[in-house]
């Protein structure tokens, strides 16, 4: 399963290469064209000789992770996060620095914490990676400042119809996009796998500029905070209730007529759909819809619990339905929508 392979690879923002290579390998047999741009985006395409308006789908390859910033005298490693990770999630975790080098983020034993310390979270500054080295010199033979560290989380089934994995944000989008690009829809279609979303939507800006699409769909793994028994309004999305269509987030105000269009297509094709509640968060749409003279853009997401953590959870059916919905939109894409400018 491509989704399994993609989530188990390491692709912290700035080192998306392993993801890119796995995607090229997965897509090459289907005959779609591909190239890599100057900052590492993977741009796949079909029917590029047609003069019809271009449609761009995008999913980001990068994930959040850690970067080594200092090797201490005792051989332990200080780090900072690449992208947003709550430091609370880093305590007592195993990490990998490369294929053969493991480390752990330990924490001061509870027996040794003073009463005031016990009531406070560990800050990022207090945490460090221990690879078992005895000295700075020994550690420096294995690691250098600027190296990345990532979680070594396996992709596995969880409960009934769920999966748990790291980096579902946004390998689930990558897997959906790869699935879509295996088929031909008869018009110029660009499947863009972007870099550096987690540090400010930077790959998407460059990709949209090159592709210059008339319509764009961003495919995401978005937050689901559906743990409470009440206060549904705070859930944002709910796992297992179908793909989520965004209405507004901190980077994009989605065009109401496009949102209605998505709703109609979902209803017509009997695909469950939910709207993403809440207005926080952002994604590649923020850069894409402002490209050149503007690009009508929608975002479809698979709801994922606990994104930006060592392990997140999604429902397989949401993933399948998101593929179906994206395909339906592409099949029925009215040129009226794209040509109305």
């Amino acid at each position: 399963m491509l989704l399994k392979e993609l989530t188990e690879l390491n692709g912290v923002a700035g080192m998306e290469k392993p993801i890119r290579e796995a995607l090229i390998q997965a897509l090459e047999p289907s005959g779609c064209a591909w190239r890599i741009d100057k900052i590492g985006n993977l741009i796949t395409s079909r029917n590029t000789l047609s003069t019809a308006p271009r449609v761009m789908l995008s999913a980001h390859m990068d994930e959040v992770g850690l970067m080594i910033t200092e090797i201490d005298a005792d051989g332990t490693l200080k780090f900072r996060t690449v992208g947003v990770i709550n430091p609370r999630l880093l305590v007592s975790k195993a990490v990998r620095l490369h294929e053969t080098l493991n480390g752990v983020i330990g924490s001061k034993a509870i027996h040794l914490q003073k009463p005031a310390e016990r009531k406070k979270d560990f800050t990022l500054e207090q945490l460090y990676i221990d690879i078992g080295a005895n000295s700075k010199e020994e550690a420096a033979k294995q690691v250098k400042v600027g190296d990345y560290a990532y979680f070594a989380t396996a992709f596995e089934p969880l409960g009934t119809g769920h999966y748990k994995a790291k980096a579902l944000d946004d390998r689930v989008g990558c897997a959906i996009l790869a699935e879509i690009m295996k088929k031909d829809y008869g018009f110029p279609l660009y499947g863009v796998f972007t870099v550096q979303e987690e540090i400010g939507l930077r790959g998407a800006q460059v990709a949209a500029y090159q592709v210059d699409p008339a319509f764009a769909v961003v495919l995401e793994g978005t937050a689901a905070a559906d743990l409470l028994e009440d206060e549904e309004s705070a859930w944002s999305t709910e796992v297992g209730q179908g793909p989520a269509c965004s209405i507004i987030d901190s980077t994009t105000l989605y065009q109401p007529e496009l949102v209605q269009y998505v709703k109609k297509i979902a209803e017509k094709n009997d695909i469950p759909l939910q709207f993403r509640r809440g207005s926080a968060g952002g994604n590649d749409a923020g850069k894409i819809h402002l490209n050149k003279s503007g690009v009508p853009t929608i975002t479809l997401s698979v709801p994922c619990r606990y994104i930006h953590s060592p392990v997140s959870v999604m429902a397989e059916q949401d993933y399948r339905d998101c593929i179906r919905l994206t395909e339906a939109i592409l099949r029925e894409l009215p040129y009226a929508v794209m040509n109305r400018t």
Binding site: P87, S92, K108, A225
Partner: protein
């Protein structure tokens, strides 16, 4: 030597990756017995799930007890809510700050994998570490609806962190429940060494229960055995950059406890034997009753002369406890050399 270290490492891996929260030590019995089968003369159990491995001495006039606890800290399910999330509390000294984002196993009718999350919006916001997320605001997600969960998980089911043992540099390893499965491994190393040596006294290695909830099994098993001399084997805090005192270091050998809880002749002899055999060791001063099986064994029956050897360990009671394999092996060796050096008449030796 390397073969012995590798054997010890694999035994530690197998014990660490099995889950046996206090009260559920029976889950570990088969694995402990497998580790002692070829090196013990007899293996027995009692109704509290202690495992006793016996190694006969040439005279057998006196009895030496070794004790390392088999239980580990963990969590316990308190509720399954309408949305299918599990609420939980702790069994023994768990630091809530080490739980978010962990993969866990819920030990219900069958083992069920899960993930620990916290209730929003606390999960999504940060107040710069000013207040921690409490365990009662955390949930376990097993990806199932409430009705289905109820079929396999009851309130009271235990939960452990799912963690494979990780190999690091310098033959160091990290994982869960090294406290005190590493002590059980050290007892097995001791038995291996005793195979090659002449020793007078019978040795009973006991995997004790319920240490983490108040050092309970050690008293029961010591009472049953009534040994002439006992040594507890546990772990002790090794120094890290944020904790340097006392300065016990990884890789510098077993820590020989000294203090009122420890019989002075035993501590002194352990140090001398280590020196004679060129085993590195460190002294671990304990001004009060220790937080180990030695605390209870010493005052069992009419009192038992008791020692304590501790394996240096970083990040105790997290799921990434770290130790150096050399320390585990040398702890086992020191125990064996000590036992082999004991005179037939212990009374003189223990007189102080």
């Amino acid at each position: 030597m390397k073969a012995q270290a590798d054997r010890a490492k694999e035994f530690l891996r197998s014990l660490s990756e099995i889950s046996a929260v206090s009260g559920y030590e029976y889950r570990l019995i088969e694995q402990i017995e497998a580790g002692f089968r070829l090196i013990a003369d007899e293996i027995t159990q009692d109704s509290f799930h202690h495992v006793y491995a016996r190694k006969k001495g040439s005279k057998g006039t006196s009895k030496i007890m070794l004790a390392a606890h088999s239980d580990e800290i963990g969590l316990m399910i308190t509720d399954v809510d309408q949305r299918g999330f599990l609420h939980f509390t702790q069994i023994a000294g768990v630091d809530a700050k080490t739980l978010l984002g962990q993969e866990v196993t819920v030990h219900g009718e069958q083992d069920v994998p899960g993930v620990i999350a916290s209730v929003p919006p606390r999960a999504l916001t940060s107040d710069n570490g000013q207040s921690i997320i409490k365990m009662e605001d955390m949930r376990i997600d097993v990806g199932m609806p409430q009705a289905q969960i109820r079929e396999v998980i009851d309130v009271g089911a235990t939960v452990t962190i799912r963690r494979k043992m990780t190999e690091l540099l310098n033959n160091r390893v990290a994982g869960k429940a090294f406290d005190d499965r590493a002590g059980i491994v050290a007892m097995a190393v001791c038995f291996e060494e005793l195979e090659k040596m002449h020793h007078l006294h019978d040795v009973m290695a006991v995997a004790t229960v319920q240490e983490e909830v108040g050092i309970r099994g050690a008293g029961i098993s010591a009472y049953r055995l009534a040994p002439d001399l006992a040594i507890a084997i546990d772990v002790t805090h090794a120094s890290t950059s944020d904790h340097k005192n006392p300065s016990i270091e990884l890789g510098k050998g077993p820590a020989v406890a000294i203090g009122p809880n420890i019989h002075p002749a035993i501590a002194k002899k352990l140090g001398e034997i280590a020196q004679e055999n060129r085993l590195s060791y460190q002294f671990d001063p304990n001004p009060g009753a220790t937080g180990t099986d030695a605390r209870v064994i010493q005052i069992t029956q009419a009192g038992i002369p008791t020692g304590l050897l501790s394996i240096p360990l970083r990040y105790m009671h997290t799921s990434v406890e770290m130790l150096e394999m050399k320390d585990v092996v040398n702890t086992g060796k020191l125990l064996a050399y000590f036992i082999a050096s004991l005179p037939e008449d212990l009374e003189d030796f223990l007189c102080y």
